[in-house]
Point group: C2
Chain length 322, copies 2
Protein backbone atom coordinates (compact mmCIF):
# COMPACT_ATOMS: atom_id res chain seq x y z
CA UNK A 1 0.00 0.00 0.00
CA UNK A 2 1.27 3.47 -0.90
CA UNK A 3 2.35 5.82 1.89
CA UNK A 4 2.55 9.59 2.10
CA UNK A 5 6.29 9.26 1.38
CA UNK A 6 5.56 7.41 -1.88
CA UNK A 7 3.14 10.17 -2.86
CA UNK A 8 5.78 12.83 -2.13
CA UNK A 9 8.39 10.97 -4.22
CA UNK A 10 5.92 10.41 -7.10
CA UNK A 11 4.91 14.08 -7.05
CA UNK A 12 8.51 15.29 -6.68
CA UNK A 13 7.58 17.28 -3.57
CA UNK A 14 8.45 17.29 0.13
CA UNK A 15 6.41 15.15 2.53
CA UNK A 16 5.43 18.34 4.39
CA UNK A 17 3.89 19.77 1.23
CA UNK A 18 1.83 16.62 0.65
CA UNK A 19 0.71 16.72 4.26
CA UNK A 20 -0.37 20.37 3.86
CA UNK A 21 -2.44 19.42 0.82
CA UNK A 22 -4.07 16.47 2.59
CA UNK A 23 -4.92 18.51 5.63
CA UNK A 24 -5.69 21.69 3.71
CA UNK A 25 -3.36 23.80 5.86
CA UNK A 26 -1.08 26.74 5.02
CA UNK A 27 -0.19 28.04 1.57
CA UNK A 28 -0.20 25.50 -1.26
CA UNK A 29 0.23 26.53 -4.90
CA UNK A 30 -2.30 25.23 -7.40
CA UNK A 31 0.41 23.39 -9.30
CA UNK A 32 1.63 21.59 -6.15
CA UNK A 33 -1.93 20.65 -5.25
CA UNK A 34 -2.46 19.29 -8.75
CA UNK A 35 0.78 17.26 -8.62
CA UNK A 36 -0.21 15.73 -5.27
CA UNK A 37 -3.67 14.73 -6.46
CA UNK A 38 -2.28 13.24 -9.64
CA UNK A 39 0.34 11.28 -7.71
CA UNK A 40 -2.33 10.05 -5.27
CA UNK A 41 -4.42 8.87 -8.17
CA UNK A 42 -1.53 7.09 -9.91
CA UNK A 43 -0.57 5.30 -6.71
CA UNK A 44 -4.18 4.72 -5.64
CA UNK A 45 -3.27 6.34 -2.33
CA UNK A 46 -6.08 6.70 0.21
CA UNK A 47 -5.32 8.87 3.22
CA UNK A 48 -5.87 6.80 6.32
CA UNK A 49 -9.07 8.24 7.73
CA UNK A 50 -8.41 7.03 11.26
CA UNK A 51 -4.93 8.52 11.30
CA UNK A 52 -6.30 11.78 9.98
CA UNK A 53 -9.08 11.73 12.56
CA UNK A 54 -6.45 11.23 15.25
CA UNK A 55 -4.62 14.26 13.92
CA UNK A 56 -7.71 16.40 13.52
CA UNK A 57 -9.42 14.85 16.54
CA UNK A 58 -12.55 14.65 14.40
CA UNK A 59 -14.46 11.63 13.16
CA UNK A 60 -17.17 13.50 11.22
CA UNK A 61 -19.66 11.11 12.76
CA UNK A 62 -22.76 12.18 14.70
CA UNK A 63 -24.24 9.71 17.15
CA UNK A 64 -28.04 9.56 17.24
CA UNK A 65 -29.76 7.88 20.19
CA UNK A 66 -33.46 7.02 19.84
CA UNK A 67 -35.63 4.53 21.71
CA UNK A 68 -36.39 2.45 18.58
CA UNK A 69 -35.60 3.26 14.96
CA UNK A 70 -38.42 0.99 13.77
CA UNK A 71 -41.00 3.29 15.38
CA UNK A 72 -42.34 5.43 12.51
CA UNK A 73 -41.73 8.73 14.31
CA UNK A 74 -38.09 7.91 14.95
CA UNK A 75 -37.49 6.33 11.54
CA UNK A 76 -38.67 9.54 9.91
CA UNK A 77 -36.58 11.60 12.32
CA UNK A 78 -33.42 9.55 11.71
CA UNK A 79 -34.05 9.68 7.97
CA UNK A 80 -34.02 13.48 8.00
CA UNK A 81 -31.10 13.69 10.44
CA UNK A 82 -29.08 11.47 8.10
CA UNK A 83 -30.02 13.72 5.18
CA UNK A 84 -28.96 16.99 6.79
CA UNK A 85 -25.83 15.45 8.32
CA UNK A 86 -24.74 14.06 4.98
CA UNK A 87 -25.28 17.46 3.36
CA UNK A 88 -22.86 18.90 5.93
CA UNK A 89 -20.28 16.14 5.44
CA UNK A 90 -21.21 14.06 8.48
CA UNK A 91 -22.22 10.45 8.86
CA UNK A 92 -24.72 9.07 11.36
CA UNK A 93 -24.17 6.32 13.91
CA UNK A 94 -27.48 5.08 15.28
CA UNK A 95 -28.27 3.66 18.65
CA UNK A 96 -31.55 2.06 19.66
CA UNK A 97 -31.70 2.51 23.40
CA UNK A 98 -34.95 0.54 23.85
CA UNK A 99 -35.43 3.11 26.62
CA UNK A 100 -32.77 1.14 28.52
CA UNK A 101 -30.58 3.56 30.46
CA UNK A 102 -27.73 1.02 30.60
CA UNK A 103 -27.57 0.84 26.82
CA UNK A 104 -27.80 4.61 26.54
CA UNK A 105 -24.96 4.94 29.00
CA UNK A 106 -22.70 2.56 27.10
CA UNK A 107 -23.28 4.44 23.88
CA UNK A 108 -22.74 7.79 25.47
CA UNK A 109 -19.42 6.54 26.82
CA UNK A 110 -18.24 6.69 23.21
CA UNK A 111 -18.32 10.41 23.64
CA UNK A 112 -15.07 10.30 25.49
CA UNK A 113 -13.51 7.95 23.00
CA UNK A 114 -13.36 10.08 19.88
CA UNK A 115 -15.58 7.91 17.71
CA UNK A 116 -18.24 10.58 17.37
CA UNK A 117 -17.97 14.35 17.34
CA UNK A 118 -21.30 14.89 19.07
CA UNK A 119 -24.69 13.40 19.86
CA UNK A 120 -28.35 14.01 19.17
CA UNK A 121 -30.26 12.25 21.92
CA UNK A 122 -33.90 11.38 22.50
CA UNK A 123 -34.18 9.81 25.91
CA UNK A 124 -37.16 8.92 28.03
CA UNK A 125 -35.23 7.24 30.84
CA UNK A 126 -34.87 8.54 34.35
CA UNK A 127 -31.18 8.04 34.95
CA UNK A 128 -29.52 10.49 32.62
CA UNK A 129 -26.75 11.96 34.75
CA UNK A 130 -24.23 10.60 32.23
CA UNK A 131 -25.43 12.94 29.56
CA UNK A 132 -25.25 15.97 31.72
CA UNK A 133 -21.67 15.20 32.69
CA UNK A 134 -20.62 14.73 29.11
CA UNK A 135 -18.01 17.13 27.80
CA UNK A 136 -18.80 16.66 24.10
CA UNK A 137 -21.38 18.63 22.12
CA UNK A 138 -24.81 17.19 22.69
CA UNK A 139 -28.29 18.23 21.62
CA UNK A 140 -31.43 16.72 23.12
CA UNK A 141 -34.90 16.35 21.67
CA UNK A 142 -38.03 17.02 23.74
CA UNK A 143 -36.08 17.21 26.95
CA UNK A 144 -34.28 19.95 28.80
CA UNK A 145 -31.04 19.49 30.75
CA UNK A 146 -28.94 22.22 32.34
CA UNK A 147 -26.47 23.63 29.89
CA UNK A 148 -27.61 21.57 26.88
CA UNK A 149 -29.54 22.98 23.92
CA UNK A 150 -32.77 21.21 23.03
CA UNK A 151 -35.17 21.03 20.11
CA UNK A 152 -38.85 20.46 20.71
CA UNK A 153 -42.26 21.19 19.24
CA UNK A 154 -44.71 23.57 20.85
CA UNK A 155 -46.43 20.69 22.64
CA UNK A 156 -48.46 22.91 24.96
CA UNK A 157 -50.07 24.48 21.92
CA UNK A 158 -50.53 21.02 20.37
CA UNK A 159 -52.40 19.79 23.45
CA UNK A 160 -54.50 22.96 23.54
CA UNK A 161 -55.51 22.71 19.87
CA UNK A 162 -56.41 19.02 20.21
CA UNK A 163 -58.48 19.38 23.37
CA UNK A 164 -60.31 22.50 22.16
CA UNK A 165 -61.24 20.76 18.92
CA UNK A 166 -62.86 17.83 20.76
CA UNK A 167 -64.84 20.25 22.94
CA UNK A 168 -65.92 22.36 19.95
CA UNK A 169 -67.11 19.18 18.23
CA UNK A 170 -69.44 18.56 21.17
CA UNK A 171 -67.61 15.89 23.20
CA UNK A 172 -68.94 15.65 26.74
CA UNK A 173 -66.47 13.22 28.30
CA UNK A 174 -62.96 13.39 26.97
CA UNK A 175 -60.09 10.98 27.55
CA UNK A 176 -56.41 11.56 27.04
CA UNK A 177 -54.18 8.55 26.38
CA UNK A 178 -50.81 10.01 27.26
CA UNK A 179 -47.26 8.71 27.44
CA UNK A 180 -45.59 8.15 30.84
CA UNK A 181 -46.04 11.37 32.80
CA UNK A 182 -43.66 10.71 35.69
CA UNK A 183 -40.63 11.59 33.54
CA UNK A 184 -40.02 15.27 33.03
CA UNK A 185 -40.00 15.51 29.23
CA UNK A 186 -41.16 18.57 27.33
CA UNK A 187 -43.43 16.41 25.16
CA UNK A 188 -45.63 15.97 28.24
CA UNK A 189 -46.71 19.60 28.13
CA UNK A 190 -49.38 18.41 25.66
CA UNK A 191 -50.88 16.55 28.64
CA UNK A 192 -50.61 19.59 30.86
CA UNK A 193 -52.44 21.60 28.19
CA UNK A 194 -55.17 18.95 28.07
CA UNK A 195 -55.65 19.22 31.82
CA UNK A 196 -55.67 23.03 31.73
CA UNK A 197 -58.28 23.16 28.95
CA UNK A 198 -60.70 20.56 30.40
CA UNK A 199 -60.39 22.17 33.85
CA UNK A 200 -61.03 25.66 32.54
CA UNK A 201 -63.97 24.57 30.38
CA UNK A 202 -65.27 22.22 33.09
CA UNK A 203 -65.48 19.16 30.84
CA UNK A 204 -65.49 15.67 32.35
CA UNK A 205 -62.20 13.88 31.63
CA UNK A 206 -59.96 10.87 32.19
CA UNK A 207 -56.18 10.63 31.74
CA UNK A 208 -54.66 7.19 31.13
CA UNK A 209 -50.91 6.76 30.84
CA UNK A 210 -49.36 4.31 28.37
CA UNK A 211 -45.78 3.20 27.76
CA UNK A 212 -44.07 3.26 24.36
CA UNK A 213 -44.93 -0.16 22.91
CA UNK A 214 -45.97 -2.00 19.75
CA UNK A 215 -49.16 -1.54 17.77
CA UNK A 216 -50.46 -4.94 18.91
CA UNK A 217 -49.95 -4.05 22.57
CA UNK A 218 -51.59 -0.66 22.15
CA UNK A 219 -54.67 -2.43 20.78
CA UNK A 220 -54.96 -4.50 23.97
CA UNK A 221 -54.49 -1.45 26.19
CA UNK A 222 -57.02 0.58 24.23
CA UNK A 223 -59.54 -2.26 24.17
CA UNK A 224 -59.46 -2.54 27.98
CA UNK A 225 -59.83 1.22 28.22
CA UNK A 226 -62.88 1.42 25.95
CA UNK A 227 -64.53 -1.54 27.68
CA UNK A 228 -64.20 0.20 31.03
CA UNK A 229 -65.12 3.72 29.89
CA UNK A 230 -68.11 3.20 27.59
CA UNK A 231 -69.31 6.80 27.94
CA UNK A 232 -66.17 8.48 26.60
CA UNK A 233 -67.04 10.29 23.33
CA UNK A 234 -63.74 11.94 22.47
CA UNK A 235 -60.11 10.82 22.84
CA UNK A 236 -56.92 12.82 22.47
CA UNK A 237 -54.14 10.29 21.84
CA UNK A 238 -50.49 10.96 22.61
CA UNK A 239 -49.43 9.54 19.24
CA UNK A 240 -50.77 8.51 15.85
CA UNK A 241 -49.92 4.89 16.65
CA UNK A 242 -52.19 4.93 19.72
CA UNK A 243 -54.90 6.66 17.67
CA UNK A 244 -54.59 4.03 14.92
CA UNK A 245 -54.99 1.22 17.43
CA UNK A 246 -58.07 3.05 18.74
CA UNK A 247 -59.66 3.23 15.27
CA UNK A 248 -59.15 -0.53 14.96
CA UNK A 249 -60.62 -1.36 18.32
CA UNK A 250 -63.59 1.00 17.77
CA UNK A 251 -64.21 -0.84 14.50
CA UNK A 252 -64.17 -4.22 16.26
CA UNK A 253 -66.51 -2.91 18.98
CA UNK A 254 -68.89 -1.39 16.37
CA UNK A 255 -68.40 2.13 17.68
CA UNK A 256 -68.82 4.60 14.83
CA UNK A 257 -65.97 7.06 14.33
CA UNK A 258 -66.46 10.03 14.41
CA UNK A 259 -70.25 9.85 15.18
CA UNK A 260 -70.00 8.04 18.53
CA UNK A 261 -66.32 8.51 19.23
CA UNK A 262 -64.07 11.32 18.03
CA UNK A 263 -60.34 10.62 17.85
CA UNK A 264 -57.37 12.91 17.49
CA UNK A 265 -53.77 11.73 17.19
CA UNK A 266 -50.38 13.40 17.50
CA UNK A 267 -47.38 13.60 15.13
CA UNK A 268 -48.98 13.36 11.66
CA UNK A 269 -47.03 10.35 10.48
CA UNK A 270 -47.77 8.56 7.18
CA UNK A 271 -50.07 6.18 9.04
CA UNK A 272 -52.42 9.08 9.88
CA UNK A 273 -53.31 9.13 6.19
CA UNK A 274 -53.28 5.34 5.89
CA UNK A 275 -56.19 5.04 8.28
CA UNK A 276 -59.76 4.72 7.07
CA UNK A 277 -61.25 7.07 8.24
CA UNK A 278 -58.15 9.24 7.94
CA UNK A 279 -56.89 10.58 11.25
CA UNK A 280 -57.24 14.10 12.58
CA UNK A 281 -53.97 14.89 14.28
CA UNK A 282 -51.48 17.48 15.51
CA UNK A 283 -48.66 17.80 13.04
CA UNK A 284 -45.07 17.99 14.24
CA UNK A 285 -42.69 19.08 11.52
CA UNK A 286 -40.23 16.21 11.87
CA UNK A 287 -38.03 17.35 9.01
CA UNK A 288 -37.65 20.78 10.58
CA UNK A 289 -36.86 19.22 13.98
CA UNK A 290 -34.14 17.09 12.38
CA UNK A 291 -32.67 19.99 10.43
CA UNK A 292 -32.57 22.22 13.50
CA UNK A 293 -31.01 19.48 15.64
CA UNK A 294 -28.23 18.94 13.10
CA UNK A 295 -27.62 22.67 12.67
CA UNK A 296 -27.46 23.37 16.40
CA UNK A 297 -25.08 20.45 16.91
CA UNK A 298 -22.82 21.56 14.05
CA UNK A 299 -22.79 25.11 15.41
CA UNK A 300 -21.71 23.71 18.78
CA UNK A 301 -18.97 21.70 17.08
CA UNK A 302 -17.68 24.94 15.61
CA UNK A 303 -18.01 26.60 19.02
CA UNK A 304 -20.54 29.11 17.76
CA UNK A 305 -23.25 30.60 19.96
CA UNK A 306 -26.45 28.53 19.81
CA UNK A 307 -30.04 29.01 20.93
CA UNK A 308 -30.57 26.79 23.95
CA UNK A 309 -34.37 26.54 23.53
CA UNK A 310 -35.58 25.66 20.06
CA UNK A 311 -39.36 25.36 20.00
CA UNK A 312 -40.89 24.61 16.60
CA UNK A 313 -44.55 25.23 15.69
CA UNK A 314 -47.24 22.54 15.46
CA UNK A 315 -50.43 22.61 13.37
CA UNK A 316 -53.85 21.03 13.63
CA UNK A 317 -54.67 18.79 10.66
CA UNK A 318 -58.40 18.07 10.55
CA UNK A 319 -59.40 14.88 8.76
CA UNK A 320 -62.20 12.35 9.18
CA UNK A 321 -62.02 11.14 12.81
CA UNK A 322 -63.37 14.32 14.45
CA UNK B 1 -6.14 14.12 30.92
CA UNK B 2 -4.52 10.92 32.16
CA UNK B 3 -2.21 9.01 29.79
CA UNK B 4 -1.16 5.38 29.67
CA UNK B 5 2.06 6.43 31.47
CA UNK B 6 0.04 7.88 34.36
CA UNK B 7 -1.90 4.62 34.58
CA UNK B 8 1.35 2.61 34.65
CA UNK B 9 2.78 4.82 37.42
CA UNK B 10 -0.47 4.70 39.42
CA UNK B 11 -0.63 0.90 39.07
CA UNK B 12 3.07 0.46 39.80
CA UNK B 13 3.54 -1.49 36.56
CA UNK B 14 5.42 -1.08 33.27
CA UNK B 15 3.74 0.75 30.40
CA UNK B 16 4.02 -2.44 28.31
CA UNK B 17 1.99 -4.36 30.87
CA UNK B 18 -0.77 -1.74 30.86
CA UNK B 19 -0.75 -1.83 27.05
CA UNK B 20 -1.11 -5.64 27.11
CA UNK B 21 -4.13 -5.34 29.41
CA UNK B 22 -5.76 -2.67 27.23
CA UNK B 23 -5.23 -4.64 24.06
CA UNK B 24 -5.82 -8.01 25.68
CA UNK B 25 -2.59 -9.47 24.31
CA UNK B 26 -0.07 -11.91 25.77
CA UNK B 27 0.04 -13.19 29.33
CA UNK B 28 -1.33 -10.93 32.03
CA UNK B 29 -1.74 -12.08 35.63
CA UNK B 30 -5.10 -11.47 37.27
CA UNK B 31 -3.51 -9.24 39.89
CA UNK B 32 -1.85 -7.05 37.22
CA UNK B 33 -5.13 -6.77 35.33
CA UNK B 34 -6.91 -5.79 38.52
CA UNK B 35 -4.28 -3.15 39.34
CA UNK B 36 -4.56 -1.64 35.86
CA UNK B 37 -8.34 -1.43 35.99
CA UNK B 38 -8.27 0.12 39.44
CA UNK B 39 -5.67 2.68 38.36
CA UNK B 40 -7.73 3.50 35.24
CA UNK B 41 -10.77 4.06 37.41
CA UNK B 42 -8.95 6.26 39.93
CA UNK B 43 -7.51 8.40 37.13
CA UNK B 44 -10.70 8.32 35.06
CA UNK B 45 -8.54 7.12 32.17
CA UNK B 46 -10.33 6.38 28.87
CA UNK B 47 -8.27 4.61 26.23
CA UNK B 48 -8.31 6.67 23.05
CA UNK B 49 -10.60 4.67 20.77
CA UNK B 50 -9.18 6.12 17.56
CA UNK B 51 -5.60 5.40 18.56
CA UNK B 52 -6.62 1.86 19.48
CA UNK B 53 -8.49 1.45 16.21
CA UNK B 54 -5.37 2.58 14.39
CA UNK B 55 -3.42 -0.04 16.25
CA UNK B 56 -5.99 -2.78 15.78
CA UNK B 57 -7.10 -1.50 12.36
CA UNK B 58 -10.65 -2.03 13.53
CA UNK B 59 -13.41 0.47 14.14
CA UNK B 60 -16.09 -1.97 15.33
CA UNK B 61 -18.52 -0.11 13.12
CA UNK B 62 -20.69 -1.74 10.45
CA UNK B 63 -21.94 0.43 7.62
CA UNK B 64 -25.52 -0.21 6.53
CA UNK B 65 -26.69 1.17 3.18
CA UNK B 66 -30.44 1.23 2.50
CA UNK B 67 -32.50 3.29 0.04
CA UNK B 68 -34.49 5.06 2.78
CA UNK B 69 -34.56 4.33 6.51
CA UNK B 70 -37.99 5.94 6.84
CA UNK B 71 -39.52 3.20 4.66
CA UNK B 72 -41.09 0.76 7.14
CA UNK B 73 -39.36 -2.30 5.65
CA UNK B 74 -35.94 -0.72 5.99
CA UNK B 75 -36.61 0.85 9.37
CA UNK B 76 -37.50 -2.59 10.73
CA UNK B 77 -34.45 -4.11 9.03
CA UNK B 78 -32.08 -1.46 10.40
CA UNK B 79 -33.65 -1.82 13.83
CA UNK B 80 -32.81 -5.54 13.93
CA UNK B 81 -29.36 -5.07 12.36
CA UNK B 82 -28.56 -2.55 15.07
CA UNK B 83 -29.76 -5.02 17.71
CA UNK B 84 -27.65 -7.96 16.54
CA UNK B 85 -24.61 -5.76 15.85
CA UNK B 86 -24.78 -4.26 19.32
CA UNK B 87 -25.02 -7.74 20.84
CA UNK B 88 -21.75 -8.57 19.05
CA UNK B 89 -20.02 -5.35 20.14
CA UNK B 90 -20.51 -3.43 16.90
CA UNK B 91 -22.11 -0.10 16.17
CA UNK B 92 -24.08 0.80 13.05
CA UNK B 93 -23.44 3.68 10.67
CA UNK B 94 -26.44 4.24 8.43
CA UNK B 95 -26.58 5.57 4.93
CA UNK B 96 -29.72 6.47 3.02
CA UNK B 97 -28.76 6.11 -0.61
CA UNK B 98 -32.11 7.37 -1.96
CA UNK B 99 -31.27 4.83 -4.69
CA UNK B 100 -28.67 7.37 -5.86
CA UNK B 101 -25.59 5.52 -7.09
CA UNK B 102 -23.38 8.59 -6.53
CA UNK B 103 -24.30 8.70 -2.86
CA UNK B 104 -23.81 4.95 -2.55
CA UNK B 105 -20.41 5.29 -4.12
CA UNK B 106 -19.30 8.04 -1.74
CA UNK B 107 -20.33 5.98 1.24
CA UNK B 108 -18.70 2.87 -0.04
CA UNK B 109 -15.45 4.80 -0.45
CA UNK B 110 -15.33 4.81 3.33
CA UNK B 111 -14.52 1.15 3.02
CA UNK B 112 -10.96 1.97 2.10
CA UNK B 113 -10.64 4.52 4.84
CA UNK B 114 -10.90 2.42 7.95
CA UNK B 115 -14.03 4.01 9.36
CA UNK B 116 -16.06 0.84 9.04
CA UNK B 117 -15.03 -2.80 9.25
CA UNK B 118 -17.59 -3.97 6.70
CA UNK B 119 -20.86 -3.19 5.00
CA UNK B 120 -24.38 -4.56 4.70
CA UNK B 121 -25.81 -3.16 1.49
CA UNK B 122 -29.26 -3.05 -0.07
CA UNK B 123 -28.93 -1.47 -3.47
CA UNK B 124 -31.35 -1.15 -6.36
CA UNK B 125 -29.13 0.98 -8.58
CA UNK B 126 -27.56 -0.15 -11.84
CA UNK B 127 -24.03 1.13 -11.43
CA UNK B 128 -22.59 -0.98 -8.67
CA UNK B 129 -19.08 -1.82 -9.90
CA UNK B 130 -17.69 -0.05 -6.85
CA UNK B 131 -19.09 -2.65 -4.53
CA UNK B 132 -17.68 -5.50 -6.44
CA UNK B 133 -14.21 -3.99 -6.44
CA UNK B 134 -14.30 -3.40 -2.75
CA UNK B 135 -11.70 -5.24 -0.71
CA UNK B 136 -13.53 -5.04 2.60
CA UNK B 137 -16.09 -7.57 3.85
CA UNK B 138 -19.46 -6.84 2.34
CA UNK B 139 -22.81 -8.62 2.49
CA UNK B 140 -25.67 -7.75 0.16
CA UNK B 141 -29.39 -8.16 0.62
CA UNK B 142 -31.65 -9.38 -2.19
CA UNK B 143 -28.93 -9.07 -4.78
CA UNK B 144 -26.16 -11.33 -5.99
CA UNK B 145 -22.68 -10.16 -7.00
CA UNK B 146 -19.72 -12.35 -7.91
CA UNK B 147 -17.76 -13.30 -4.83
CA UNK B 148 -20.07 -11.60 -2.31
CA UNK B 149 -22.38 -13.44 0.08
CA UNK B 150 -26.03 -12.42 0.01
CA UNK B 151 -29.09 -12.81 2.17
CA UNK B 152 -32.52 -13.00 0.61
CA UNK B 153 -35.97 -14.45 1.15
CA UNK B 154 -37.36 -17.24 -0.99
CA UNK B 155 -39.11 -14.72 -3.25
CA UNK B 156 -39.94 -17.26 -5.96
CA UNK B 157 -41.94 -19.20 -3.41
CA UNK B 158 -43.50 -15.96 -2.15
CA UNK B 159 -44.69 -15.07 -5.65
CA UNK B 160 -45.99 -18.60 -6.19
CA UNK B 161 -47.96 -18.65 -2.93
CA UNK B 162 -49.49 -15.22 -3.62
CA UNK B 163 -50.52 -15.92 -7.21
CA UNK B 164 -51.91 -19.36 -6.43
CA UNK B 165 -54.03 -17.96 -3.61
CA UNK B 166 -55.67 -15.38 -5.90
CA UNK B 167 -56.44 -18.10 -8.47
CA UNK B 168 -57.81 -20.46 -5.80
CA UNK B 169 -60.06 -17.65 -4.55
CA UNK B 170 -61.60 -17.44 -8.04
CA UNK B 171 -59.89 -14.40 -9.58
CA UNK B 172 -60.24 -14.34 -13.38
CA UNK B 173 -58.00 -11.41 -14.27
CA UNK B 174 -55.02 -10.87 -12.04
CA UNK B 175 -52.65 -7.92 -11.89
CA UNK B 176 -49.20 -7.73 -10.39
CA UNK B 177 -47.90 -4.33 -9.25
CA UNK B 178 -44.19 -5.06 -9.15
CA UNK B 179 -41.05 -3.05 -8.43
CA UNK B 180 -38.70 -2.06 -11.28
CA UNK B 181 -37.95 -5.25 -13.21
CA UNK B 182 -35.08 -4.05 -15.39
CA UNK B 183 -32.60 -4.34 -12.50
CA UNK B 184 -31.43 -7.82 -11.73
CA UNK B 185 -32.36 -8.15 -8.07
CA UNK B 186 -33.32 -11.45 -6.45
CA UNK B 187 -36.49 -9.88 -5.02
CA UNK B 188 -37.83 -9.80 -8.58
CA UNK B 189 -38.12 -13.56 -8.67
CA UNK B 190 -41.53 -13.02 -7.03
CA UNK B 191 -42.55 -11.43 -10.34
CA UNK B 192 -41.08 -14.28 -12.32
CA UNK B 193 -43.10 -16.71 -10.18
CA UNK B 194 -46.25 -14.67 -10.87
CA UNK B 195 -45.64 -14.94 -14.61
CA UNK B 196 -44.90 -18.67 -14.40
CA UNK B 197 -48.08 -19.42 -12.41
CA UNK B 198 -50.51 -17.34 -14.54
CA UNK B 199 -48.95 -18.75 -17.73
CA UNK B 200 -49.18 -22.32 -16.53
CA UNK B 201 -52.75 -21.92 -15.27
CA UNK B 202 -53.74 -19.81 -18.30
CA UNK B 203 -55.16 -16.94 -16.27
CA UNK B 204 -55.48 -13.48 -17.84
CA UNK B 205 -52.97 -11.07 -16.30
CA UNK B 206 -51.32 -7.63 -16.33
CA UNK B 207 -47.94 -6.65 -14.90
CA UNK B 208 -47.37 -2.99 -14.00
CA UNK B 209 -44.00 -1.80 -12.72
CA UNK B 210 -43.71 0.85 -10.01
CA UNK B 211 -40.73 2.66 -8.51
CA UNK B 212 -40.02 2.87 -4.78
CA UNK B 213 -41.91 5.99 -3.70
CA UNK B 214 -44.11 7.48 -0.99
CA UNK B 215 -47.55 6.31 0.08
CA UNK B 216 -49.16 9.41 -1.46
CA UNK B 217 -47.54 8.75 -4.82
CA UNK B 218 -48.49 5.08 -4.76
CA UNK B 219 -52.12 6.14 -4.31
CA UNK B 220 -51.97 8.19 -7.52
CA UNK B 221 -50.31 5.35 -9.46
CA UNK B 222 -52.79 2.79 -8.17
CA UNK B 223 -55.77 5.06 -8.88
CA UNK B 224 -54.75 5.45 -12.53
CA UNK B 225 -54.24 1.71 -12.76
CA UNK B 226 -57.69 0.81 -11.38
CA UNK B 227 -59.38 3.41 -13.55
CA UNK B 228 -57.80 1.88 -16.64
CA UNK B 229 -58.25 -1.77 -15.70
CA UNK B 230 -61.79 -1.95 -14.31
CA UNK B 231 -62.08 -5.71 -14.86
CA UNK B 232 -59.13 -6.74 -12.67
CA UNK B 233 -60.45 -8.78 -9.72
CA UNK B 234 -57.24 -9.74 -7.94
CA UNK B 235 -53.95 -7.88 -7.38
CA UNK B 236 -50.64 -9.19 -6.10
CA UNK B 237 -48.71 -6.16 -4.84
CA UNK B 238 -44.93 -6.06 -4.59
CA UNK B 239 -45.12 -4.54 -1.10
CA UNK B 240 -47.51 -3.90 1.78
CA UNK B 241 -47.24 -0.16 1.13
CA UNK B 242 -48.55 -0.58 -2.42
CA UNK B 243 -51.30 -2.89 -1.12
CA UNK B 244 -52.27 -0.33 1.53
CA UNK B 245 -52.56 2.41 -1.08
CA UNK B 246 -54.74 0.02 -3.09
CA UNK B 247 -57.11 -0.59 -0.18
CA UNK B 248 -57.50 3.18 0.14
CA UNK B 249 -58.16 3.78 -3.51
CA UNK B 250 -60.61 0.85 -3.71
CA UNK B 251 -62.45 2.41 -0.77
CA UNK B 252 -62.65 5.80 -2.53
CA UNK B 253 -63.85 4.11 -5.73
CA UNK B 254 -66.48 2.07 -3.84
CA UNK B 255 -64.94 -1.24 -4.86
CA UNK B 256 -65.59 -3.83 -2.15
CA UNK B 257 -62.52 -5.66 -0.82
CA UNK B 258 -62.37 -8.67 -0.98
CA UNK B 259 -65.76 -9.25 -2.73
CA UNK B 260 -64.99 -7.35 -5.93
CA UNK B 261 -61.25 -7.01 -5.62
CA UNK B 262 -58.88 -9.33 -3.78
CA UNK B 263 -55.55 -7.88 -2.63
CA UNK B 264 -52.38 -9.51 -1.42
CA UNK B 265 -49.31 -7.64 -0.22
CA UNK B 266 -45.69 -8.55 0.44
CA UNK B 267 -43.44 -8.19 3.54
CA UNK B 268 -45.94 -8.37 6.44
CA UNK B 269 -45.04 -5.06 8.02
CA UNK B 270 -46.99 -3.56 10.92
CA UNK B 271 -49.16 -1.65 8.45
CA UNK B 272 -50.54 -4.97 7.11
CA UNK B 273 -52.34 -5.29 10.42
CA UNK B 274 -53.19 -1.60 10.62
CA UNK B 275 -55.37 -1.84 7.53
CA UNK B 276 -59.11 -2.30 7.74
CA UNK B 277 -59.70 -4.88 6.26
CA UNK B 278 -56.42 -6.35 7.45
CA UNK B 279 -54.08 -7.30 4.64
CA UNK B 280 -53.33 -10.80 3.39
CA UNK B 281 -49.62 -10.85 2.64
CA UNK B 282 -46.40 -12.82 2.17
CA UNK B 283 -44.34 -12.62 5.31
CA UNK B 284 -40.60 -12.04 5.12
CA UNK B 285 -38.86 -12.70 8.40
CA UNK B 286 -37.05 -9.37 8.64
CA UNK B 287 -35.52 -10.12 12.01
CA UNK B 288 -34.03 -13.36 10.70
CA UNK B 289 -32.70 -11.57 7.58
CA UNK B 290 -31.00 -8.97 9.78
CA UNK B 291 -29.56 -11.57 12.14
CA UNK B 292 -28.18 -13.63 9.26
CA UNK B 293 -26.69 -10.57 7.55
CA UNK B 294 -24.87 -9.54 10.72
CA UNK B 295 -23.64 -13.08 11.41
CA UNK B 296 -22.35 -13.63 7.87
CA UNK B 297 -20.58 -10.26 7.93
CA UNK B 298 -19.00 -10.95 11.33
CA UNK B 299 -17.86 -14.38 10.13
CA UNK B 300 -16.24 -12.70 7.13
CA UNK B 301 -14.53 -10.21 9.46
CA UNK B 302 -13.05 -13.15 11.32
CA UNK B 303 -12.09 -14.75 8.01
CA UNK B 304 -14.31 -17.76 8.61
CA UNK B 305 -15.96 -19.72 5.80
CA UNK B 306 -19.43 -18.39 5.03
CA UNK B 307 -22.42 -19.54 2.99
CA UNK B 308 -22.56 -17.40 -0.11
CA UNK B 309 -26.29 -17.94 -0.73
CA UNK B 310 -28.55 -17.44 2.25
CA UNK B 311 -32.18 -17.92 1.32
CA UNK B 312 -34.69 -17.59 4.14
CA UNK B 313 -38.25 -18.96 4.08
CA UNK B 314 -41.40 -16.90 3.51
CA UNK B 315 -44.92 -17.68 4.66
CA UNK B 316 -48.40 -16.84 3.46
CA UNK B 317 -50.43 -14.90 6.04
CA UNK B 318 -54.12 -14.97 5.14
CA UNK B 319 -56.20 -12.11 6.48
CA UNK B 320 -59.25 -10.20 5.27
CA UNK B 321 -58.37 -8.88 1.80
CA UNK B 322 -58.54 -12.23 -0.05
Amino acid sequence: MATIKDVAREAGLAVGTVSRVLNNRGYISDSARKKVYEAMERLNYKPNEIARALYRKKSNIIGVVVPMVSHPFFSELVNHIEYYSYEAGYKVLICNSYSDSEKEKKYIELINRNQVDGFIVTTYTQDTSDYINSELPLVTLDRSFDGLPYITSDHYRGGTLATNLLIEKGCKKIAHLSGPLEIDIIANSRSKAFLDVVSEKKVEYIIEQTKLTTFENYKKIVYKFLEKHTDVDGIFCGSDIIATSLIHVANIMDKNVPEELKIIGYDDLDIALMNIPSLTTIRQNIEQIAERAVNVLLDKLEEKEVNMKNVLPVTLVERETT
